[in-house]
C-alpha cells in the first residue's frame, strides 16, 4: 500500500509541475493614452496609427520598464500636439506588459508581438526591454515585416553573428530589429576597464544564466582577464533561487576584490547583493551591468546597495545639453525622474514617428504599409535626438554608442563616468 502510494507520488508531482509551468502566460493590457485597436472603425476622416510598446510593467522589472515606456508615451504625445503627422492621422500607443509573476517573460513578449502583428493599425513597435524577450520576438517581427526598435537590449547575438542570422528565420535578408543603445561586448569591455581602473585585481563572477546576463558575464570574464585581472570563479544562478548564502560563502573563501553580477535585479541581483551582508562580505564592492540600473535594485538590497557600481548602455541624459528639453518635458508629464533608458525609448519613438510621417508623405497622404515604415527606419542617419545624432548600421545597431557608469551611495545613484565609443 505504502510503496504503491509512493510510486504514484512521482507522477503526481510531475503533473503538478507541468500544470504550474503552463499557467504563466497571462499578460495585462495597460493603455495610457487611449489605445484604439484596428477593428474599431476610425471616425470619419481620422485614421489612427498605433505604435506598439512591449515592456515589463509589473513586478521587479517595473521600476525600469515603466520609465522606458514613458519615453515613448511622451514622444507620441508631443507628436500629436506638434502635428508631426498630416491632418487626419492620430498617433496612439498600444502598450502591453511582458512580465509574468514579477519577471520579464519571453513567452509573454512573443504573445504581445503577435497581438501587435494582428492589429493592422500597429505600424511599428518599441521594445522589448530584455534581451531574452527580444530573442523570442525577433523571429515574429521578421516574419511579419514589423519594425521594432529596442531602447535597451544589449545582447550582441540579437544583431550580430550566427545567432542574429538564426533569428531572421522567415526572411534572412530582411532586418526588422534595431536598437539605439549599444552592445554588451562594449559594455563588458568598458566594465572590465573600469574595474581595473578602480584597482581591483581579483573578481568573482556570478550570472543569472539568461541571454543577457550570461552574455554580459562571459564578455566581462574574457575582458577582465585580457586587462590582466584574475577571475576567481564564475557561477550561475538558478531561476527562482532565493538562498545565495552557500554560493557567497564559496565566493568569500576566494577573497575577491569585488563581485561581478551579470543579470537583472529581478533574476536575483538584488537578493544576491542583500545576502552578501550575511556572509561577511559587507565591505566587498558589487558591480554589474544595466540589469541592476533600476530603482528596484536599491529597494531590494536596501542599505547593502551602497558601494555597488553599474553601467548602462546609454548616455546619462542629465549630462547632455541636447536632452535638457526632454528631461523637463518628461518631469512635467510624469512627475518623476527619467530612467536610464527613457531618453533612448523617446528617441526610438521619434525615429518611428518620423518614418511614419515620411511614409504618409511618400504615399500621397495615405496610410503607409509596414514595409514603408521599416524601409524608412532602416535608412535613419544622423537623426537629431536628445541622445545625440543617431543612425543604424546594416545590423540594426546604433552608430552612436555611449555608455554610462554610476555608483550607489546613500541609496542614490551617482554619476561616475560617461564613455563615448567609436561605432
Amino acid at each position: 500500500m505504502r510503496s504503491a502510494a509512493l510510486r504514484s507520488l512521482g507522477s503526481l508531482a510531475l503533473v503538478a509541475m507541468l500544470s504550474a509551468c503552463g499557467t504563466s502566460t497571462s499578460t495585462t493590457t495597460t493603455s495610457s493614452s487611449g489605445t484604439t485597436s484596428a477593428s474599431s472603425a476610425p471616425a470619419a476622416g481620422a485614421t489612427t496609427v498605433a505604435i506598439g510598446i512591449d515592456m515589463p510593467l509589473s513586478g521587479d522589472d517595473a521600476s525600469i520598464g515603466v520609465p522606458t515606456k514613458n519615453g515613448v508615451l511622451l514622444a507620441i504625445d508631443e507628436a500629436n500636439k506638434a502635428k508631426a503627422l498630416p491632418d487626419g492621422f492620430t498617433l496612439v500607443d498600444k502598450t502591453l506588459d511582458d512580465a509574468v509573476q514579477g519577471t520579464h517573460d519571453p513567452a509573454a513578449g512573443a504573445q504581445n508581438v503577435k497581438t501587435f502583428i494582428s492589429d493592422s493599425s500597429v505600424l511599428a513597435m518599441v521594445g522589448p526591454f530584455n534581451s531574452n524577450v527580444a530573442q523570442s520576438e525577433i523571429p515574429l517581427t521578421n516574419d511579419a515585416g514589423l519594425v521594432q526598435i529596442s531602447a535597451s537590449n544589449t545582447n550582441d547575438g540579437l544583431t550580430t553573428g550566427d545567432n542574429a542570422a538564426k533569428l531572421r528565420t522567415s526572411h534572412p535578408d530582411v532586418n526588422t530589429y534595431f536598437r539605439d543603445c549599444t552592445r554588451d561586448s562594449r559594455q563588458g569591455t568598458a566594465l572590465a576597464a573600469f574595474a581595473k581602473k578602480l584597482g581591483w585585481k581579483k573578481i568573482y563572477i556570478v550570472d543569472d544564466n539568461e541571454t543577457y546576463g550570461k552574455g554580459l558575464a562571459d564578455i566581462f570574464d574574457t575582458q577582465f582577464k585580457a586587462v590582466g585581472g584574475a577571475v576567481l570563479g564564475h557561477d550561475h544562478l538558478t531561476k527562482g533561487q532565493q538562498d545565495f548564502k552557500a554560493l557567497l560563502t564559496k565566493a568569500r573563501s576566494s577573497a575577491p576584490d569585488a563581485v561581478f553580477y551579470g543579470g537583472n535585479t529581478s533574476t536575483g541581483g538584488g537578493l544576491l547583493r542583500l545576502q552578501m551582508a550575511d556572509v561577511g562580505m559587507k565591505a566587498t564592492p558589487f558591480i554589474g551591468g544595466d540589469g541592476i540600473s533600476d530603482q528596484q535594485f536599491i529597494t531590494t538590497a536596501g542599505a547593502m546597495s551602497n558601494g555597488s557600481y553599474y553601467s548602462f548602455a546609454a548616455p546619462e541624459a542629465s549630462k547632455l545639453a541636447t536632452a535638457q528639453a526632454f528631461i523637463t518635458a518628461y518631469k512635467a508629464k510624469f512627475n518623476e525622474d527619467v530612467g536610464p533608458y527613457s531618453a533612448n525609448s523617446y528617441a526610438a519613438a521619434k525615429i518611428i514617428i518620423a518614418a511614419i510621417a515620411k511614409g504618409i508623405k511618400d504615399n500621397g497622404g495615405k496610410l503607409p504599409t509596414r514595409a514603408d515604415v521599416l524601409k524608412n527606419v532602416a535608412a535613419t542617419k544622423n537623426f537629431d535626438s536628445p541622445i545625440g545624432k543617431i543612425g543604424f548600421d546594416k545590423n540594426g545597431d546604433t552608430t552612436a554608442p555611449i555608455l554610462t557608469i554610476k555608483k550607489i551611495q546613500d541609496k542614490k545613484a551617482i554619476f561616475v563616468d560617461q564613455i563615448i565609443l567609436k561605432s
Binding site: G102, Q242, S253, G270, L274
Partner: protein, 304 residues
C-alpha cells in the same frame, strides 16, 4: 576546511527551513495520503503575515531586550495562527468534500488552492520581493577562523528542532495525537471507535499549516525578503525532503530537510551552484530505488 564547516552551517540553517515546511507535508500525507500542494504557498503566506504583524507593531528597525522577545513571540504567533486558520479553511473548502473522490481530484484542487494563494499574495503586496524589517540583531555567536555562526542561523535550527520535538510529543503522547494516529491507520475503524474524523483532519491541517507559518516567519527574518511565489520552489524541495526521509514520518521529514540543505550547500561549494538541484534529486532517486519508503520510512511503523 573552514569553508567546509561554514557550508555545513549554511546547509543546516537552510535545511531547517525545509524541515519546518516538510513537517506539514508529511503530517497531511500521513493522515489522508494527499499531497497538499498549497502547503508551500501557506509557507510564503507566513512571511507576508509576519510582515503585516511587524507593520502593525510599528517595527522597522532592530529591537533589543525584552521588546525583542515580545516582537518575536507576537509575530511568530500571528503568523502561525493566520497560516493555521488558512490551512483549515483550505481543507474545509477544497479537500473535505473530495476525501473519497478519485485521487486526481483533490490533487488538482490542491494546485488550484496554490495558485489562489499565490495570486492573493501578489495582489496584496505586488510581485516584487518585499523587504522584511531586520528587527532581530544578528551578532556572530561563534567565530573560529573563517567559520561564523550567526544568531539568525541558530534561531532557524533551534525553532525547527523544538517544533519537531513538540510535534512528535504531541502525536505520541496526547489523546488527540492518538486520534490522529488512529485516523492515519484506518479512517473507518477510527470513526467506528468514536473519533471525529473531520475534527482530527482539520486539526492536522491547523498544525501543519502553523508550522509552515513558522517557516515563513523564519525565512522572512533569515533572508530579509518576502516573495509571493517563493512557496513553489521551497515547497517542492520540502516535499522532496519529506519523501527522502520517509513520508508520513516526523523525524524523517526533519532528517530529509537537513540533508537537502546540506547537499545543496556542499554541491554549491564543491561542484557548482547550478548542479545543486541535480545532485539533490539524484540523491532522492537513488534513495528511493534502494529504500522506496524513504530513509526512516519503515523503521518506525507509526505514521503520524
Amino acid at each position: 576546511m573552514d569553508v567546509f564547516l561554514q557550508q555545513i552551517v549554511n546547509g543546516i540553517s537552510l535545511g531547517g527551513i525545509y524541515a519546518l515546511i516538510a513537517l506539514g507535508y508529511t503530517m497531511v500525507y500521513g493522515i489522508i495520503e494527499l499531497i497538499n500542494f498549497a502547503h508551500g504557498d501557506v509557507y510564503a503566506l507566513g512571511s507576508f503575515v509576519s510582515l503585516a504583524v511587524l507593520a502593525l507593531l510599528g517595527v522597522q528597525d532592530e529591537v533589543h531586550g525584552a521588546a525583542l522577545i515580545g516582537v518575536i513571540v507576537l509575530t511568530l504567533a500571528g503568523s502561525m495562527l493566520a497560516c493555521g486558520l488558512v490551512g483549515v479553511l483550505i481543507e474545509r473548502l477544497a479537500y473535505r468534500r473530495l476525501r473519497n473522490a478519485p485521487r486526481l481530484a483533490p490533487l488538482i484542487t490542491a494546485i488550484g488552492m496554490s495558485f489562489i494563494l499565490q495570486n492573493v499574495m501578489q495582489l496584496w503586496k505586488g510581485p516584487s520581493p518585499v523587504p522584511v524589517p531586520q528587527f532581530i540583531p544578528n551578532p556572530t555567536l561563534f567565530h573560529s577562523g573563517a567559520v561564523e555562526i550567526q544568531l539568525k542561523q541558530v534561531l532557524v535550527v533551534v525553532l525547527a528542532v523544538v517544533m519537531m520535538i513538540a510535534l512528535q510529543a504531541f502525536v505520541t503522547r496526547t489523546r488527540v495525537g492518538k486520534a490522529m494516529r488512529a485516523t492515519a491507520q484506518d479512517r473507518d475503524a477510527a470513526q467506528l471507535m468514536g473519533i471525529n474524523i473531520n475534527t482530527t483532519i482539520a486539526l492536522t491541517f491547523l498544525i501543519g499549516s502553523a508550522l509552515a507559518g513558522t517557516a515563513g516567519f523564519v525565512s522572512g527574518v533569515y533572508y530579509g525578503t518576502a516573495v509571493f511565489n517563493a512557496g513553489f520552489a521551497a515547497g517542492l524541495k520540502a516535499f522532496t525532503a519529506a519523501v527522502l526521509g520517509g513520508i508520513g514520518n516526523i523525524a524523517g521529514a526533519m532528517l530529509g530537510g537537513f540533508l537537502i540543505g546540506l547537499i545543496e550547500a556542499l554541491t554549491t561549494q564543491f561542484i557548482s551552484d547550478q548542479w545543486a538541484n541535480v545532485v539533490v534529486f539524484s540523491v532522492l532517486v537513488a534513495v528511493l530505488i534502494f529504500r522506496p519508503s524513504g530513509l526512516l520510512g519503515e523503521s518506525l511503523p507509526n505514521k503520524v
